[in-house]
Protein backbone atom coordinates (compact mmCIF):
# COMPACT_ATOMS: atom_id res chain seq x y z
CA UNK A 1 0.00 0.00 0.00
CA UNK A 2 1.27 3.44 -0.86
CA UNK A 3 0.83 6.32 1.57
CA UNK A 4 -0.14 9.31 -0.53
CA UNK A 5 1.43 11.86 1.81
CA UNK A 6 4.18 11.29 4.38
CA UNK A 7 2.81 11.37 7.91
CA UNK A 8 4.67 13.70 10.27
CA UNK A 9 4.18 13.64 14.02
CA UNK A 10 4.77 16.98 15.74
CA UNK A 11 5.12 17.10 19.54
CA UNK A 12 5.51 20.37 21.43
CA UNK A 13 3.84 21.60 24.62
CA UNK A 14 3.58 25.12 23.23
CA UNK A 15 0.41 25.49 21.19
CA UNK A 16 1.73 28.36 19.04
CA UNK A 17 4.79 26.38 18.03
CA UNK A 18 2.70 23.27 17.28
CA UNK A 19 0.60 25.38 14.94
CA UNK A 20 3.67 27.04 13.39
CA UNK A 21 5.36 23.73 12.60
CA UNK A 22 2.15 22.05 11.56
CA UNK A 23 1.15 24.93 9.25
CA UNK A 24 4.54 25.03 7.51
CA UNK A 25 4.82 21.27 7.10
CA UNK A 26 1.24 20.96 5.85
CA UNK A 27 2.11 23.52 3.21
CA UNK A 28 4.95 21.24 2.09
CA UNK A 29 2.30 18.60 1.46
CA UNK A 30 2.73 16.40 4.52
CA UNK A 31 -0.04 15.01 6.64
CA UNK A 32 0.59 16.33 10.15
CA UNK A 33 -0.62 15.00 13.50
CA UNK A 34 0.18 16.93 16.67
CA UNK A 35 0.73 15.95 20.28
CA UNK A 36 0.99 18.35 23.22
CA UNK A 37 3.18 16.10 25.38
CA UNK A 38 5.39 13.04 25.29
CA UNK A 39 2.70 10.53 26.33
CA UNK A 40 0.36 11.68 23.59
CA UNK A 41 3.20 11.55 21.07
CA UNK A 42 3.99 7.93 21.95
CA UNK A 43 0.30 6.97 21.86
CA UNK A 44 -0.11 8.53 18.40
CA UNK A 45 3.08 6.88 17.15
CA UNK A 46 1.91 3.49 18.43
CA UNK A 47 -1.48 3.88 16.72
CA UNK A 48 -0.10 4.95 13.35
CA UNK A 49 3.68 4.99 13.07
CA UNK A 50 4.73 8.30 11.45
CA UNK A 51 7.22 8.64 8.58
CA UNK A 52 9.02 11.31 10.60
CA UNK A 53 8.73 12.89 14.05
CA UNK A 54 9.46 16.49 15.07
CA UNK A 55 9.84 16.54 18.85
CA UNK A 56 10.43 19.34 21.33
CA UNK A 57 13.13 18.45 23.87
CA UNK A 58 11.66 20.20 26.93
CA UNK A 59 8.13 19.03 27.51
CA UNK A 60 6.45 18.41 30.85
CA UNK A 61 6.21 14.73 31.80
CA UNK A 62 8.14 12.68 29.26
CA UNK A 63 10.89 14.83 27.77
CA UNK A 64 11.68 14.83 24.07
CA UNK A 65 14.79 12.77 24.81
CA UNK A 66 12.70 10.10 26.58
CA UNK A 67 10.23 10.10 23.70
CA UNK A 68 13.13 9.66 21.27
CA UNK A 69 14.47 6.67 23.23
CA UNK A 70 10.99 5.11 23.45
CA UNK A 71 10.41 5.55 19.70
CA UNK A 72 13.78 3.94 18.98
CA UNK A 73 12.94 1.03 21.28
CA UNK A 74 9.64 0.27 19.50
CA UNK A 75 10.10 -1.89 16.36
CA UNK A 76 7.61 0.15 14.29
CA UNK A 77 9.50 3.41 14.86
CA UNK A 78 13.04 2.07 15.38
CA UNK A 79 14.28 3.77 12.21
CA UNK A 80 11.79 6.64 11.90
CA UNK A 81 13.69 9.89 11.31
CA UNK A 82 13.51 12.10 14.40
CA UNK A 83 14.20 15.83 14.41
CA UNK A 84 14.47 17.56 17.78
CA UNK A 85 13.46 21.12 18.58
CA UNK A 86 15.62 22.50 21.34
CA UNK A 87 15.81 25.81 23.16
CA UNK A 88 19.22 24.92 24.53
CA UNK A 89 21.92 26.04 22.20
CA UNK A 90 24.79 24.47 24.13
CA UNK A 91 26.50 21.73 22.23
CA UNK A 92 26.36 19.26 25.11
CA UNK A 93 22.54 19.21 24.94
CA UNK A 94 22.64 18.59 21.22
CA UNK A 95 25.04 15.68 21.71
CA UNK A 96 22.71 14.12 24.29
CA UNK A 97 19.84 14.44 21.82
CA UNK A 98 21.76 12.81 19.00
CA UNK A 99 23.01 10.08 21.35
CA UNK A 100 19.38 9.39 22.33
CA UNK A 101 18.79 8.50 18.69
CA UNK A 102 17.67 11.72 17.02
CA UNK A 103 18.77 12.29 13.41
CA UNK A 104 18.85 16.08 13.39
CA UNK A 105 17.88 19.11 15.47
CA UNK A 106 17.03 22.78 15.15
CA UNK A 107 17.61 25.36 17.84
CA UNK A 108 14.74 27.65 18.84
CA UNK A 109 14.08 30.13 17.45
CA UNK A 110 14.30 28.38 14.10
CA UNK A 111 13.29 29.38 10.61
CA UNK A 112 10.18 27.43 9.49
CA UNK A 113 11.69 27.29 6.01
CA UNK A 114 14.89 25.73 7.34
CA UNK A 115 12.86 23.22 9.35
CA UNK A 116 10.83 22.27 6.27
CA UNK A 117 14.03 21.74 4.29
CA UNK A 118 15.53 19.52 6.98
CA UNK A 119 12.34 17.47 7.19
CA UNK A 120 12.36 17.04 3.40
CA UNK A 121 15.96 15.90 3.40
CA UNK A 122 15.45 13.44 6.29
CA UNK A 123 12.43 11.93 4.50
CA UNK A 124 14.48 11.72 1.33
CA UNK A 125 17.30 9.86 3.08
CA UNK A 126 14.81 7.52 4.81
CA UNK A 127 13.11 6.80 1.50
CA UNK A 128 16.43 6.09 -0.20
CA UNK A 129 17.51 3.70 2.54
CA UNK A 130 14.11 1.95 2.46
CA UNK A 131 14.73 1.33 -1.25
CA UNK A 132 18.19 -0.03 -0.47
CA UNK A 133 16.78 -2.37 2.17
CA UNK A 134 13.08 -2.78 1.34
CA UNK A 135 12.47 -5.23 4.15
CA UNK A 136 13.47 -2.74 6.80
CA UNK A 137 10.84 -0.11 6.24
CA UNK A 138 7.23 -0.59 5.35
CA UNK A 139 6.75 2.96 4.14
CA UNK A 140 6.69 4.26 0.63
CA UNK A 141 7.16 7.96 0.35
CA UNK A 142 6.11 9.82 -2.73
Amino acid sequence: MITARPLVLVADDDEDIRELVSFRLSRSGYEVVTACDGEEALALAAKSPPDLAVIDVSMPGLSGLEVTRALRAAPATASTPILLLTARAQDADVEIGLAAGADDYVVKPFSPEDLAQRVASLLHIAFASSLAAPGLRAVALR
Binding site: D14, D16, I17, L20, F23, R24, R27, S58, A87, R88, A89, Q90, D91, K108, P109, F110, S111, P112, E113
Partner: protein
Protein backbone atom coordinates in the same frame (compact mmCIF):
# COMPACT_ATOMS: atom_id res chain seq x y z
CA UNK B 1 41.21 29.38 72.40
CA UNK B 2 42.93 29.73 69.06
CA UNK B 3 42.11 26.06 68.25
CA UNK B 4 38.40 26.67 68.93
CA UNK B 5 38.58 29.76 66.80
CA UNK B 6 40.25 27.84 64.00
CA UNK B 7 37.66 25.02 64.18
CA UNK B 8 34.80 27.45 64.04
CA UNK B 9 36.21 29.31 61.11
CA UNK B 10 36.75 26.07 59.21
CA UNK B 11 33.12 25.15 59.83
CA UNK B 12 32.10 28.62 58.82
CA UNK B 13 34.21 28.44 55.70
CA UNK B 14 32.67 25.11 54.76
CA UNK B 15 29.18 26.52 55.27
CA UNK B 16 30.07 29.59 53.27
CA UNK B 17 31.55 27.43 50.53
CA UNK B 18 28.41 25.32 50.38
CA UNK B 19 26.25 28.42 50.25
CA UNK B 20 28.32 29.84 47.38
CA UNK B 21 28.06 26.59 45.46
CA UNK B 22 24.28 26.69 45.89
CA UNK B 23 24.18 30.27 44.64
CA UNK B 24 26.32 29.29 41.68
CA UNK B 25 24.04 26.37 40.86
CA UNK B 26 20.99 28.59 41.20
CA UNK B 27 22.57 31.05 38.78
CA UNK B 28 23.16 28.29 36.20
CA UNK B 29 19.61 27.01 36.62
CA UNK B 30 18.22 30.53 36.30
CA UNK B 31 20.16 31.14 33.10
CA UNK B 32 18.99 27.84 31.61
CA UNK B 33 15.40 28.63 32.58
CA UNK B 34 15.50 32.20 31.32
CA UNK B 35 17.12 31.07 28.09
CA UNK B 36 14.39 28.48 27.50
CA UNK B 37 11.54 30.70 28.56
CA UNK B 38 12.73 33.52 26.30
CA UNK B 39 13.54 31.36 23.33
CA UNK B 40 10.10 29.76 23.15
CA UNK B 41 8.10 32.99 22.65
CA UNK B 42 10.86 34.26 20.34
CA UNK B 43 10.36 31.14 18.22
CA UNK B 44 6.76 32.16 17.67
CA UNK B 45 7.65 35.77 16.91
CA UNK B 46 10.41 34.93 14.44
CA UNK B 47 8.60 31.94 12.94
CA UNK B 48 5.26 33.64 12.28
CA UNK B 49 7.10 36.71 10.95
CA UNK B 50 8.72 34.48 8.39
CA UNK B 51 5.34 33.05 7.40
CA UNK B 52 3.92 36.58 6.98
CA UNK B 53 6.80 37.81 4.82
CA UNK B 54 7.05 34.56 2.86
CA UNK B 55 6.56 34.88 -0.93
CA UNK B 56 3.64 32.45 -0.63
CA UNK B 57 1.83 34.65 1.90
CA UNK B 58 -0.66 37.42 1.10
CA UNK B 59 1.05 40.54 -0.26
CA UNK B 60 1.75 43.24 2.35
CA UNK B 61 1.37 46.99 2.11
CA UNK B 62 4.60 48.97 2.24
CA UNK B 63 3.83 50.13 5.77
CA UNK B 64 2.99 46.63 6.99
CA UNK B 65 6.26 45.35 5.53
CA UNK B 66 8.19 48.16 7.24
CA UNK B 67 6.55 47.52 10.63
CA UNK B 68 7.23 43.79 10.32
CA UNK B 69 10.88 44.49 9.56
CA UNK B 70 11.07 46.54 12.77
CA UNK B 71 9.57 43.64 14.75
CA UNK B 72 12.04 41.33 13.07
CA UNK B 73 15.02 43.55 13.93
CA UNK B 74 13.92 43.78 17.55
CA UNK B 75 13.54 40.03 17.78
CA UNK B 76 17.06 39.61 16.41
CA UNK B 77 18.38 42.01 19.05
CA UNK B 78 16.68 40.08 21.81
CA UNK B 79 18.10 36.86 20.47
CA UNK B 80 21.64 38.17 20.28
CA UNK B 81 21.28 39.49 23.84
CA UNK B 82 20.21 36.04 25.04
CA UNK B 83 23.14 34.43 23.23
CA UNK B 84 25.57 36.95 24.73
CA UNK B 85 24.21 36.39 28.24
CA UNK B 86 24.47 32.62 27.84
CA UNK B 87 28.01 32.83 26.52
CA UNK B 88 28.94 35.22 29.34
CA UNK B 89 27.43 32.84 31.91
CA UNK B 90 29.44 30.02 30.37
CA UNK B 91 32.59 32.12 30.66
CA UNK B 92 31.84 32.95 34.30
CA UNK B 93 31.20 29.36 35.31
CA UNK B 94 34.54 27.83 34.47
CA UNK B 95 35.55 29.53 31.27
CA UNK B 96 34.82 28.98 27.63
CA UNK B 97 34.86 25.34 26.61
CA UNK B 98 36.67 25.28 23.30
CA UNK B 99 35.97 22.78 20.59
CA UNK B 100 39.28 23.18 18.77
CA UNK B 101 40.12 22.13 15.26
CA UNK B 102 42.49 23.18 12.49
CA UNK B 103 40.91 26.23 10.87
CA UNK B 104 41.62 29.00 8.42
CA UNK B 105 41.13 32.26 10.31
CA UNK B 106 41.21 34.07 6.96
CA UNK B 107 38.19 32.13 5.70
CA UNK B 108 36.32 32.74 8.97
CA UNK B 109 37.00 36.48 8.69
CA UNK B 110 35.90 36.48 5.02
CA UNK B 111 32.57 34.91 6.03
CA UNK B 112 32.03 37.48 8.79
CA UNK B 113 32.90 40.33 6.41
CA UNK B 114 30.49 38.96 3.81
CA UNK B 115 27.61 38.96 6.29
CA UNK B 116 28.51 42.48 7.48
CA UNK B 117 28.54 43.95 3.95
CA UNK B 118 24.82 44.88 3.84
CA UNK B 119 25.11 46.77 7.16
CA UNK B 120 28.26 48.56 5.97
CA UNK B 121 26.58 49.54 2.70
CA UNK B 122 23.52 50.85 4.56
CA UNK B 123 25.74 52.98 6.79
CA UNK B 124 27.85 54.24 3.91
CA UNK B 125 30.99 52.75 5.41
CA UNK B 126 33.70 51.30 3.17
CA UNK B 127 34.55 47.75 4.23
CA UNK B 128 38.04 46.70 3.20
CA UNK B 129 39.88 43.42 3.65
CA UNK B 130 43.52 42.42 3.69
CA UNK B 131 43.05 38.78 4.45
CA UNK B 132 45.49 35.94 3.88
CA UNK B 133 44.77 32.24 4.40
CA UNK B 134 45.98 31.77 7.97
CA UNK B 135 45.92 28.41 9.71
CA UNK B 136 44.98 28.47 13.37
CA UNK B 137 43.98 25.84 15.92
CA UNK B 138 40.81 27.10 17.52
CA UNK B 139 37.07 26.99 18.09
CA UNK B 140 35.20 27.97 14.93
CA UNK B 141 32.08 29.34 16.62
CA UNK B 142 34.08 31.32 19.17
CA UNK B 143 36.50 32.81 16.65
CA UNK B 144 33.60 33.86 14.41
CA UNK B 145 32.08 35.52 17.46
CA UNK B 146 35.34 37.46 17.99
CA UNK B 147 35.43 38.73 14.40
CA UNK B 148 31.68 39.47 14.40
CA UNK B 149 31.88 41.46 17.63
CA UNK B 150 34.89 43.54 16.57
CA UNK B 151 33.40 44.14 13.14
CA UNK B 152 29.98 45.10 14.45
CA UNK B 153 31.57 47.56 16.92
CA UNK B 154 33.70 49.11 14.19
CA UNK B 155 30.65 49.59 11.97
CA UNK B 156 28.57 51.01 14.84
CA UNK B 157 31.14 53.67 15.73
CA UNK B 158 32.23 54.72 12.24
CA UNK B 159 30.28 57.57 10.69
CA UNK B 160 29.10 57.82 7.11
CA UNK B 161 31.95 57.98 4.61
CA UNK B 162 34.42 56.27 6.94
CA UNK B 163 36.10 52.95 6.47
CA UNK B 164 36.66 49.70 8.32
CA UNK B 165 39.54 47.38 7.48
CA UNK B 166 39.83 43.74 8.51
CA UNK B 167 43.30 42.21 8.36
CA UNK B 168 44.34 38.62 8.97
CA UNK B 169 47.99 37.67 8.71
CA UNK B 170 50.53 35.36 10.23
CA UNK B 171 54.01 36.11 11.50
CA UNK B 172 56.55 33.53 12.77
CA UNK B 173 54.96 33.12 16.16
CA UNK B 174 51.59 34.83 15.94
CA UNK B 175 48.32 34.81 14.08
CA UNK B 176 47.08 38.37 13.84
CA UNK B 177 43.55 39.65 13.44
CA UNK B 178 43.09 43.36 13.17
CA UNK B 179 39.91 45.39 12.84
CA UNK B 180 40.65 49.06 12.20
CA UNK B 181 38.11 51.83 11.79
CA UNK B 182 38.13 55.56 11.09
CA UNK B 183 35.40 56.08 13.69
CA UNK B 184 34.84 58.25 16.76
CA UNK B 185 37.70 56.71 18.76
CA UNK B 186 37.96 55.97 22.47
CA UNK B 187 39.45 58.45 24.97
CA UNK B 188 42.58 57.13 26.79
CA UNK B 189 40.88 57.14 30.21
CA UNK B 190 38.21 54.74 28.95
CA UNK B 191 40.49 52.32 27.13
CA UNK B 192 41.48 50.32 30.22
CA UNK B 193 37.86 49.54 31.08
CA UNK B 194 36.83 48.60 27.55
CA UNK B 195 37.06 44.86 28.13
CA UNK B 196 35.09 44.87 31.41
CA UNK B 197 31.63 43.37 31.47
CA UNK B 198 28.76 45.79 30.79
CA UNK B 199 31.14 48.74 30.34
CA UNK B 200 29.92 51.26 27.77
CA UNK B 201 31.88 54.28 26.64
CA UNK B 202 30.45 57.77 27.12
CA UNK B 203 30.54 58.12 23.32
CA UNK B 204 28.31 55.05 22.94
CA UNK B 205 25.85 56.28 25.55
CA UNK B 206 25.77 59.84 24.19
CA UNK B 207 25.14 58.65 20.64
CA UNK B 208 22.57 56.10 21.87
CA UNK B 209 24.42 53.33 20.04
CA UNK B 210 22.67 50.05 20.79
CA UNK B 211 24.62 47.48 22.75
CA UNK B 212 24.92 45.65 26.03
CA UNK B 213 28.56 46.24 26.88
CA UNK B 214 29.14 42.49 26.71
CA UNK B 215 30.75 42.18 23.28
CA UNK B 216 34.33 43.08 24.13
CA UNK B 217 34.34 41.14 27.40
CA UNK B 218 33.24 38.09 25.41
CA UNK B 219 36.01 38.78 22.87
CA UNK B 220 38.57 38.93 25.67
CA UNK B 221 37.33 35.74 27.33
CA UNK B 222 37.50 33.84 24.04
CA UNK B 223 40.94 35.19 23.14
CA UNK B 224 42.23 34.37 26.66
CA UNK B 225 40.90 30.83 26.34
CA UNK B 226 42.89 30.47 23.11
CA UNK B 227 46.03 31.64 24.90
CA UNK B 228 46.07 34.90 22.96
CA UNK B 229 45.94 38.60 23.66
CA UNK B 230 43.73 41.45 22.62
CA UNK B 231 44.49 45.17 22.78
CA UNK B 232 43.36 48.45 21.36
CA UNK B 233 44.98 51.52 19.93
CA UNK B 234 42.71 54.48 19.56
CA UNK B 235 42.58 58.21 19.15
CA UNK B 236 39.46 60.33 19.59
CA UNK B 237 37.96 61.41 16.24
CA UNK B 238 40.60 59.43 14.34
CA UNK B 239 39.54 55.85 14.90
CA UNK B 240 40.31 52.61 16.72
CA UNK B 241 42.27 49.50 15.91
CA UNK B 242 41.60 46.29 17.81
CA UNK B 243 44.35 43.69 17.57
CA UNK B 244 44.00 40.04 18.45
CA UNK B 245 47.17 37.95 18.58
CA UNK B 246 46.80 34.18 18.81
CA UNK B 247 49.73 31.82 19.23
CA UNK B 248 50.74 30.31 15.88
CA UNK B 249 51.52 26.88 17.22
CA UNK B 250 52.15 23.89 15.03
CA UNK B 251 49.32 21.41 15.46
CA UNK B 252 48.70 18.11 13.77
CA UNK B 253 46.67 18.64 10.62
CA UNK B 254 47.20 22.39 10.57
CA UNK B 255 49.11 22.28 7.31
CA UNK B 256 46.12 20.76 5.52
CA UNK B 257 44.20 24.00 5.93
CA UNK B 258 46.51 26.05 3.71
Amino acid sequence: MSAAFATRSTAELLAENERLQEVDQMKDELIALVSHELRTPLTSIVGYLELLTDPEAEPLTEQQARFLSIISRSAERLLSLISDLLLMAQVESGGVLLDREALDLGAIAEDCVASARPTAAKRGVELEVEIAATPVYGDRRCLSEVVDNLLSNALKFTPDGGSVTVRVARTESTVLLEVADTGIGIPPEEQAQLFSKFFRTRGAIKRAVQGTGLGLSIVKAIVDAHGGEVDVESEVSKGSTFRVALPAEEWPGLREVT
